[in-house]
Amino acid sequence: MKTHNSVSRLELANITKQYPGCLANDNISLTLMPGEIHALLGENGAGKSTLVKTIYGVVAPDKGDIIWDGREVSIKSPSIARDLGIGMVFQHFSLFETLTVSQNIELCLSKAQLNNIGDLADRIKKLSAEYGLNVDPSRYIHSLSIGERQRVEIMRCLVQSVKLLILDEPTSVLTPQEVSGLFDVLRTLSKEGCSILFISHKLHEVTEICHKATILRGGKVVDTCIPNEETPATIAKMMVGELAEQEAGYIKREGTNVIFSVTNLSLPSKHPFGTALKDINLTLKAGEILGIAGVAGNGQDELMAIISGEDARNVKQAISLNNLDIGHLHAGERRKLGMAYVPEERLGRGAVPDMSLTENTLLTHSDGFVKNGLVQWQSIKNYTQTLITKYKVKCHGEFSEAKSLSGGNLQKFIMGREIGQNPKVLICAHPTWGVDVGAALAIHQALLELRDQGAAILLISEDIDELFLLADRMAAVCNGHLSPLVKTEHTNIDQIGQWMAGTFINNTSVCAQEQEAKA
């Protein structure tokens, strides 16, 4: 980090932004020096996203000044931000799937910038080599992996000689190996004097790479620190405000008898850009959590859909519950036999956005609350209220629409609703994705409690730390293949990371080859 330049790259003074019913940013000030990697931390809803969108000109602040390279500026639109040299990599990538890499990059550049650059494809190739960001400019986005897409986003910023790069949770979609590649790129950029603003939930990453950190809570700056002088635990404490309960380790269980299994399941994908499942075999014991790691888009969605019955194709022999073939039953029949699901997509799959929580409860509990063909509204209301209290769901009441809840609260509600059915098997995808520390803890404990009561849980997650924390046995998926299942204590992050990249397939990188072939 270069510090001999005394003029700060960016200075925010008293930024305030009020949304209806929510003060998103309250007098936020922070300073960023050239070459500094600065972490912006906080739970969901702390105001991080609003703040970076203000810097990038997507959101207009109500009050406050932005000082860029020593002079006050007004950033009214992203194009102004880009002209200043601010680049942003969004959490949900802002790429256009039906366009090529170079077309995507071109769209972000002004005519003047394009003229300066000359041949765009050449420039992309040059930058690729310089920073080790391998992307072929002529490929279509939909054919790229998530990691490659992120490289395109970063490339999009680098092409326009960026002085400040904003990254919104950049590592949540990457394999551990890809993460270290990304960090190399960031360190190089930092040495060249580019400032980086880094939003992350993963505190050990922050302590590893960031020079400074600003912690937000409820829209306010509550603390700043130098991350490598802290531990993830002390930072977590600053974020949550009270002494956060540490999730250092939970007891691992063996599980008893095999209750659920998938045997020799191969299935082509129904979706144009989907992944085919290839000879999937897995067994799930009562009283254990089986974790499946993998980068998004490697067959998790397809596996979830066929196990839940959402994908209605008949695979009678392939899926069995208590030695009973269930692969031909529809989703409702499987639920009746004791299966429950928490899908990745909360609004739209896990809950109907425009319905109240009561109605959403009824959706998966219809049996208990219907008498003589009539819905027993009072009892279902009472039941919903108990769920809200038990899982500390923050909402106005059982009449609140599902879409009015924050992601974490809705997830707690859905989790509670599914657990409330006393399932024999719970299939759970990305249960804490985008959920803050406090809610994640509650969800983890609910899962463990369910396991200890003897349920079998299949946990699909991209968060490796979460899997190591919760899972009793683990596996990884890559391109539709499932790795061997191992006990969590017999493996480590390195091995799982390599499995996520496909090394378990004949000990060679078949997966990578197949991905190449697919492209």
Partner: protein, 310 residues
């Protein structure tokens, strides 16, 4: 069947396909920006009646075409304000626009039914029209047909080769992302919708000034709907829209051809051909869900409100 008859049939197919080509070109641009405007038929009818009135009262055909374009884009502007500014449902608003246009055009044109004017004269293009067969099929038409050729070429170039086309596709695929990188999504959509309106206007003017140079209530006879199917049939590609328009044009005149050849099929049945073809095409394309998903603009029909971006 002698070659002379075939040339005549194909000549007529181009002529019949031209209003379809105009309106479908407008609609495809609109859909590429992510907006589904089902008001085509209404805009086309208003274009037809206003174009006819303007040409009839001034005696200037060019003025008629211009008036029709302005009318079409004014109609589409109503749609744009409702859908983009006020967040109205695209399908319902489009249907309302068609019903509105059908009624209003009948009302406005009531006093002029049965009046005729002198349509655009055919212009044989020197040299090109001397090409055997092809010259007589393609280069012996009125000026609006040539304009439709030019328009197809220009749109093909703009959509596939320029930054404007890239921006349009980006907005239609992912308006949130487009907004985030600083593309003015609503402005692009306004322009695309109004371009669609202007093209629907010309298409209507072609009906009332050239195809049958007179005004009759509901004279477009569902061409606005056929154009919507045509866009899907062409899988949102400009070149295929031209081909498809002429194919549908051919289907529309088949009943005359078959009658002329002395086939004893009820003319009513044969007149159904283009509509049956539309239904069949839609069924075939929709059955292949895979393909439809791959080709259609991702955000087609979905609302976008930049104020909701928090």
């Amino acid at each position: 069947m002698d070659s002379d008859l075939i040339v005549q049939i194909l000549f007529a197919a181009v002529k019949t396909g031209t209003p379809l080509l105009f309106i479908a070109l407008g609609e495809v641009i609109c859909e590429k920006s992510g907006i589904l405007n089902l008001g085509q038929e209404g805009m086309m009818l208003m274009g037809a009646v206003v174009g006819f009135l303007a040409a009839y009262s001034t005696g200037n055909m060019g003025f008629g075409v211009l008036a029709a374009m302005i009318m079409g884009s004014t109609m589409s502007l109503i749609f744009a304000v409702l859908v983009l500014q006020l967040g109205a449902n695209q399908v319902a608003t489009g249907l309302a626009l068609t019903i509105f246009g059908t009624g209003l055009s009948a009302f406005v044109g009531a006093g002029f039914v049965g009046q005729t004017i002198q349509g655009f004269p055919p212009i044989a293009i020197p040299l090109l029209s001397d090409i055997p067969y092809l010259g007589r099929i393609l280069f012996n038409h009125d000026i609006l047909v040539y304009f439709s050729f030019g328009m197809t070429a220009v749109l093909f170039y703009v959509v596939n080769k320029t930054r404007i086309g890239l921006t349009l596709k980006a907005v239609g695929e992912n308006p949130n992302a487009a907004n985030a990188i600083g593309i003015p999504v609503l402005k692009v959509r306004y322009l695309a919708i109004m371009f669609g309106g202007a093209m629907a206007g010309i298409s209507g003017a072609y009906m009332s000034l050239v195809y049958t140079p007179m005004w009759v209530e509901n004279m477009t006879a569902g061409r606005g709907w056929i154009a919507l199917a045509l866009v899907v049939f062409a899988s949102w590609r400009i070149g295929r829209i031209m081909l498809g328009a002429y194919l549908f044009g051919l289907a529309s005149i088949m009943h005359l051809v078959l009658q002329g050849m002395g086939w004893s099929i009820s003319p009513n049945l044969l007149a159904m051909l283009p509509y049956v073809a539309t239904v069949v095409v839609m069924v075939i394309i929709s059955a292949d869900h895979f393909k439809e998903k791959l080709l259609a603009p991702r955000s087609l029909g979905k609302p976008f409100d930049p104020r909701n971006m928090a």
